[in-house]
Symmetry: D2
Subunit: 184 residues, 4 copies
Amino acid sequence: MADMADTTDATGTSPGWLSAGDLEIARAQMPILYVDAVPVRVDDSGEVTAVGLLLRIGPDGTVSRTLVSGRVLYHERVRDALLRHLEKDLGPVALPKVPPSLQPFTIAEYFPTPGVTPFHDPRQHAVSLAYVVPVTGDCRPRQDALDLVWLTPQEAASGSVQSEMPGGQGVLLRQALAHVGCLP
Amino acid sequence: MADMADTTDATGTSPGWLSAGDLEIARAQMPILYVDAVPVRVDDSGEVTAVGLLLRIGPDGTVSRTLVSGRVLYHERVRDALLRHLEKDLGPVALPKVPPSLQPFTIAEYFPTPGVTPFHDPRQHAVSLAYVVPVTGDCRPRQDALDLVWLTPQEAASGSVQSEMPGGQGVLLRQALAHVGCLP
Amino acid sequence: MADMADTTDATGTSPGWLSAGDLEIARAQMPILYVDAVPVRVDDSGEVTAVGLLLRIGPDGTVSRTLVSGRVLYHERVRDALLRHLEKDLGPVALPKVPPSLQPFTIAEYFPTPGVTPFHDPRQHAVSLAYVVPVTGDCRPRQDALDLVWLTPQEAASGSVQSEMPGGQGVLLRQALAHVGCLP
Amino acid sequence: MADMADTTDATGTSPGWLSAGDLEIARAQMPILYVDAVPVRVDDSGEVTAVGLLLRIGPDGTVSRTLVSGRVLYHERVRDALLRHLEKDLGPVALPKVPPSLQPFTIAEYFPTPGVTPFHDPRQHAVSLAYVVPVTGDCRPRQDALDLVWLTPQEAASGSVQSEMPGGQGVLLRQALAHVGCLP
């Protein structure tokens, strides 16, 4: 799950949003709703030709590859949360095409305890709605993400890439590839 | 959304669960994760033959028909939340068959403000994962639900039944009927 | 199901395609694979704002509203069949966005015998993979379709429109609207 | 794709079914509609605990592992085709639970030309609707299948098992495992 965005989300300045302190309390007591988006390039027939992964530096300095991910805020539609996180991570001209149906391809349950599911988040119990989102524009990641790299589906499913994806996001990425018929 | 169950859920006696007061605070500040289940009877080929609706008395005394619905608790899997709410509302021998995939047929976004989506919950912003769940056993609703009534898909989609379903659950029921190919 | 296109499809001039006579024989003996596409306009968040329906004159002179529909040919990918029928019915600059996943929102089984399913095609047993397809370009229906009309989801689900959709396509359209969360 | 069943399917004795000769002609001229079923055991919460694979001897004597697979016949519902092939391959008391929705988890396109998609069938262009089907009863494969073996999801996804699955069915199996959240 993307970490750094949360301090941006939870400024505490907007009414109805959580302060950093309140977020900590909530995280210890209830599941937090997230969205995960797998940005893809598609050809004219809709077939996926490339998958976009963010190269991030985590709080402990480790380099990791992540999907676009973040919380759904109070009184925010899932569609708007997807757009907000995609814009935050891919820039304002990525032109993401959020699908017309909100049916996710799967639900990823990130538990604070490892091993309950393939997904793990030491900070919280997060439940994430996962979508594949074609982007057609120019992607310019913001400064907190080092880079955005486009990989072929084959590269994205490789062991070396998978090993750089924390918290089980490599599993989620392969579920996305399976859903779009590109699991090598 | 099912109301009365929440006081049962949030006893405050289990570590990591919300007290009633904390739940109120959280409800004002972040989306709450729910599950909605549409209990169905199916024939040998899997085709839906009947839909189960709960007849409830709401806080204000009005009679309403509802789906099986409730919160996902901290450190609870979505599957276990579904089972818990199905058992709570249908009794211990309903034998619900939770589907092997967690892909919901849709996401229902209940906003405290009417009109943002078809779904409305004055208490909170709830985001619900919606599933169709075949039940094969004997259903014995607990005392807080007046009755469980099995309707044909045609009856369930009728205007009179729809008008008795609060918060947009009539829309969700018709989405479920559409998903299983039984929208009349 | 779209009728008139079939004589165009089955010219018999391409190797591996069926002649009109062979198609008649096959239609009497095995299910024919179709695709159905519901063309939609979406806003920036992906939400459906309008549904495109074709106004057609049937073989018997009756006016009817239909979805984009047609056969999948031998050695043709489902994606390419979708693109071909969308281009045939909406013109070359409609810019349809076929979804990255081939998972259809439903399967429509058109039986020659009425009443087996909600779908009926007197000519054949057709099994259709049904998709919602956003189109972003300019739609210019070919001459064999009278017109393309964009309706709001509410208008599309209305009784008057439903009554003009033959073979159960009104049911399929409402299933599509349910899938995208726009069933009124 | 399951081969040997077709001579059983196509006896030519039932009106509307294809004779073996007609089937050959149709196979050269149009896509043939199939269903693929992944039989699974699930626990009380619906989570997949085991996957059933058939051990078959192919026409050329090679041993292979396959899913339950076969044609949809003229005037046969997809549900009934699933039940027929499951009973044929797993025996009459397997008690398969065909899902209430016909939405498949994916579409597998088997082309006679290798490389168009991950799926290949030298005999024909087959398009298959793929489902995960829990079975709760006793499975007794018929004589033409050597054996039915239950594997854990981890075993089923292993390279050795995958290499024994012809025509791309290993890919389809992993897509099924991804769909049910059991892709290791």
